[in-house]
């Protein structure tokens, strides 16, 4: 029975969508019935003339039976909807201009929010490729003295934390590593990372093929490694027997023991190809000042982030109590936050912006529908008079809105696809590569947005459009007898959309200001035509050989046509999160000063600073006369000089760094350079010390980063540079070839994209808001043609009329502007993370927005107001 009745419903649903037996078929059957009944009646002795009426009395009317059959054939409720939809589609076709505007507006709104949701969902909501990823946290040292809230912990700290903590199931650490593959095919430098053996346990990840390394292998420094899925496919052709293969990494033989899954990635970058055991050295295990690790931990079940934070901060103070720099606490942050980085704020802001845009689109449409509702009063009145109930009419209106929203949404999805391609570039580099798509979640969201939009823009017009006694609608013939209430409502809609547009414009303006500021940051060098790359020097541990190689390689590069100069440094500029710094001690200072004094350390060649175009504040660059010596020369940056020698010359001052004891060299400051941007764009500048590579082999940093100043397009000489280097050493790897401008572009990409997107949203918002204003005023003029004609006839000048309409439009705009500026001030506060610590001036931006908005609004008011002022009183009154 149940099955049978289910089958009936399906059949009826089907019957609604496409009737298998049409009305003619049904009617034919009924007619036959009547004919046969009439024949029987004749046979029973009825007079032929009366047979038919008799049969009808007996069998019932065809019309009633047809009605009952139709109801049984389909679902009456659905039939009504289907009819409404057909009617709505007819309306769409009948008013192409209105429909096109409505659909385009909705397409922008829904397409925008759908694309943003797709990015938001993929980057911030989808699970990370680790089980229970929300239990994973990162632990950072909090070295407040150095104005750094998050610093890399030291391996020694990790050991203590792991041993003593009570809040995590386990804690793992990773460390930077270099890897040059050689032997099996051409040398290749690949991104690598060292990891403690428990990393895989903490993350909950198992290799696709093979196994991970054990604690024993890690501690004993066994040469085993894991490779990424990408490297496996690329270099080893996806061969399963790669496990157990011996490969040469950094001139040492390692055994491949496993391949990571395809979607695996982990901080600090998505493209790490080799994972090897950390195998911390004995000195690293003791030394609390070797801050270069990233530490990830898994919270115990039931443990909260807050309690873990408190517990770990206390533990850290205790662990570092004996550290000569004094104790410091730690910060515990959710892993997802670290992976999403700045993109998080950008996405939240952009999602809000797209929601605001959709809201503006809806408000606009509501206004249009309200205006149209007035026009359709007659039609509604006729239908009401013919017996359509109010509910039925509301359903009809809402169906029309839904059809518009559906069409808009479909068009919007077409817009969304190219937008997704653009948004893919916003995915942070710390995350796996993602392909944004319109999957069912996104489509469901989009459908939800369309329905919400329908209710927002369709409900009020539907309620208003159907609320009156039928005879009124018929009597006044659709002429403007709209009450003040309706105007009041439409006016508030205008104020709302203006306010939203102002919020978007102001936020966009602030972001643009920040972006301009970042773009014009003084890099401390001439960034154009400056090529950089890395030529790792692990194969030259011997000081003299290394100096010889570096000088020979630079000499060969300088000989390439189009090259002006070349130099090398232990760290190329513009490194993000560059917290690897060294302690120093000035001559005459007590050892107590050491804890607060760290500086970035750069080992450079003679020509490095001139090559990048550094500028001297005082003193000199390195010179050929800076011979190998135990009292070497040093150049410091302005931040360093201003900190220790404010208002006086730093030249001739002496300091020790790295090795702060009798054996450590004393460096003499010979020059002060203007701030060179060593850290990423938007980060606070830091003290930096430059010393000459040739002069002394003291601290183990190797000048592997090469910079080349060219007169030609830098990319055009890349292969010449490779050849030049290989002519010195044919096995020398070269990688990370990029120009300084590329690096800057990449660092500003989130800012660029958010600025572009927010700017686009803001301009669309402005356009929609002004269209809305124009539409409402224009409609009011049409509605009030009679009244205007009368006023003109009674002696009002056309200037009066112009002013009266203009004043109303501008008053609405002004109200929206004031509300919008207040909201924008609040919104700006939540965007600070996007502003890269830069505080753009709110008032100039607000003033600019005000001027632009008033100008556009004036135009939107002027056109209809002028039309009103040109009304010919005679025609207007006659028409009435």
């Amino acid at each position: 029975m149940r099955m049978a009745s289910l089958r009936e419903w399906i059949s009826r649903l089907w019957g609604t969508l496409r009737p298998g037996r049409d009305d003619r078929d049904l009617e034919q059957e009924l007619r036959l019935h009547l004919e046969l009944a009439a024949e029987d009646a004749v046979r029973a002795g009825c007079a032929p003339g009366q047979a038919r009426p008799a049969a009808r009395t007996h069998a019932g009317g065809v019309a009633q039976a047809m009605e009952a059959l139709r109801d049984q054939r389909g679902l009456p409720w659905l039939n009504d909807r289907a009819r409404d939809i057909r009617y709505a589609l007819r309306q769409v076709r009948r008013n192409p201009a209105f429909s096109a505007i409505a659909i385009a507006t909705l397409a922008l709104g829904i397409g925008g929010i759908t694309a943003m949701f797709s990015a938001f969902d993929t980057i911030l909501i989808r699970p990370l490729p680790y089980p229970n990823a929300d239990r994973l946290v990162m632990i950072w040292d909090e070295l407040n003295r150095e104005r750094l809230s998050k610093s890399f912990p030291a391996p020694a700290e990790w050991l203590e934390w792991r041993r003593q903590n009570t809040v995590f199931t386990d804690i793992a650490a990773t460390q930077p590593a270099d890897a040059t593959l050689s032997g099996d095919s051409e040398p290749e430098q690949v991104p690598a990372r060292k990891a403690t053996a428990n990393l895989w346990g903490v993350l909950g990840v198992t290799p696709l093929v093979g196994r991970v390394f054990t604690e024993e292998e890690d501690v004993n420094g066994v040469r085993v490694l894991l490779i990424s899925h990408g490297l496996w496919q690329r270099r080893y052709g996806g061969s399963p027997d790669v496990v157990g293969r011996k490969i040469t990494v950094n001139d040492n033989v390692y055994e491949v023991i496993g391949v990571m899954p395809r979607d695996f990635y982990f901080l600090p970058a998505r493209d790490i190809d080799i994972w090897m055991p950390a195998s911390f050295s004995a000195s690293m295990r003791r030394n609390f000042s070797w801050h270069d690790s990233q530490v990830v931990a898994r919270l115990k079940p039931g443990m909260t982030l807050k309690r873990a934070q408190e517990s770990m901060a206390a533990l850290s103070l205790q662990v570092t109590a004996k550290d000569f720099r004094g104790p410091h606490p730690v910060v515990v942050t959710p892993l997802r936050e670290e992976i999403a980085g700045k993109t998080h704020t950008a996405l939240v802001v952009l999602l809000c912006a797209s929601a605001a845009l959709l809201l503006i689109a809806c408000v606009n449409l509501a206004n249009l529908l309200l205006s149209r509702g007035e026009v359709r009063r007659r039609e509604v009145a006729v239908r009401a008079a013919l017996g359509a109930g109010r509910q039925r009419l509301i359903a009809q209106f809402l169906t029309e809105s839904l059809v518009l929203a559906g069409l808009g949404s479909a068009t919007g999805l077409a817009f969304a696809v190219p937008a997704l391609r653009f948004l893919e570039t916003i995915v942070p580099e710390t995350m796996g590569t993602v392909r944004l798509s319109l999957d069912w979640r996104v489509l469901a969201f989009s459908a939800g947005a369309a329905i919400a939009a329908t209710l927002i823009f369709g409900l009020v017009p539907a309620l208003r459009g159907t609320r009156f006694a039928p005879q009124d609608g018929l009597r006044d013939g659709g002429r403007g007898a709209t009450g003040a209430r309706s105007h009041w409502f439409q006016h508030s809609l205008i104020v709302i959309e203006t306010a939203l547009a102002v919020v978007l414009l102001t936020s966009g303006g602030l972001l643009l200001g920040t972006f301009q500021h970042l773009r014009h940051t003084d890099l401390g060098m001439r960034s154009e035509q400056l090529l950089t790359f890395e030529a790792p020097l692990f194969r030259y541990p011997d000081f003299d050989k290394r100096v010889a190689f570096v000088n020979a390689e630079l000499e060969k590069i300088r000989a390439i046509p189009g090259v002006v100069n070349a130099g090398a440094s232990s760290q190329l500029p513009l490194r993000p999160n560059n917290t690897h710094a060294t302690f120093y001690l000035l001559a005459g200072q007590s050892r107590n000063s050491i804890p607060g004094q760290v500086a970035l350390m750069r080992v450079v060649t003679l020509d490095y600073l001139p090559t990048i175009g550094a500028r001297l504040r005082e003193g000199r660059f390195f010179e050929i006369s800076d011979r190998p010596s135990t009292s070497p020369a040093a150049i410091v940056n302005e931040t360093f000089a201003d900190r220790h020698f404010p208002g006086r010359s730093a030249l001739g001052e002496r300091f020790q760094y790295g090795q702060l004891n009798e054996k450590g060299h004393w460096y003499t400051i010979v020059g002060v350079v203007k701030e060179i941007r060593e850290v990423a764009m938007g980060e606070a500048p830091r003290s930096a010390v430059y010393r000459l590579h040739d002069q002394t082999d003291q601290v183990g940093s190797l000048p592997s980063g090469v910079v080349v100043r060219t007169t030609v397009e830098p990319v055009s000489i890349v292969s010449a540079i490779r050849q030049a280097i290989w002519s010195v050493d044919k096995d020398q790897p070269v990688w990370h070839v990029q120009t300084i401008d590329d690096i800057v572009d990449r660092q500003l990409s989130t800012a660029t994209q958010s600025t572009t997107l927010l700017g686009a949203f803001a301009l669309l918002a402005l356009l929609l808001a002004s269209l809305g204003l124009y539409g409402v005023l224009s409609y009011a003029v049409t509605q009030r043609t009679n009244e205007i004609g009368l006023r003109l006839a009674l002696g009002a000048t056309s200037g009066d009329i112009l002013r009266s309409f203009g004043k109303r439009g501008m008053a609405l705009t002004l109200a929206g502007l004031v509300i919008g500026l207040v909201l924008a001030a609040i919104a700006a506060r939540s965007m600070t993370a996007l502003l890269y610590g830069y505080r753009p001036d709110y008032f100039p931006t607000a003033a600019a927005v005000a001027v632009i908005l008033m100008a556009v609004a004036a135009l939107a008011c002027f056109v209809p107001a002028r039309r009103a002022s040109r009304i010919d009183p005679m025609t207007a009154l006659q028409r009435g």
Binding site: A4, S11, L32, H33, H58, G60, A65, A68, L69, Q72
Partner: protein, 97 residues
């Protein structure tokens, strides 16, 4: 009831079903078209009968209804249920105890 008629007499068109019902009930059951045809349609939608256009013995086009296998099962089940009910009713009304 409709099902039984169709089952008993094989392919029938609507009018003959109504006529047959009227005949067997000696005029007690007079079904008008507004009841008959939606009823037939419902049975068809439930898959208990099927219908097709065919020609009557007086050479007219008519829609003929015939019972399906599911219809026969349903009929048997309903007949059994009815018998059970009438037995109970009979016992209740006629059993003096």
């Amino acid at each position: 009831m409709l099902l039984q008629t169709v089952a008993a007499l094989g392919p029938l068109h609507g009018y003959s079903i109504a006529a047959r019902l009227e005949q067997v009930s000696a005029g007690a059951l007079q079904i008008n078209m507004g009841t008959l045809y939606p009823g037939l349609m419902r049975l068809e939608q439930r898959g208990l009968i099927r219908s097709e256009w065919n020609v009557t013995d007086t050479n007219r086009k008519a829609r003929f209804y015939n019972i399906t296998a599911a219809g026969r099962r349903q009929l048997a089940a309903e007949r059994a249920e009815w018998d059970r009910m009438t037995t109970i009713m009979h016992t209740l009304l006629h059993d003096p105890g």
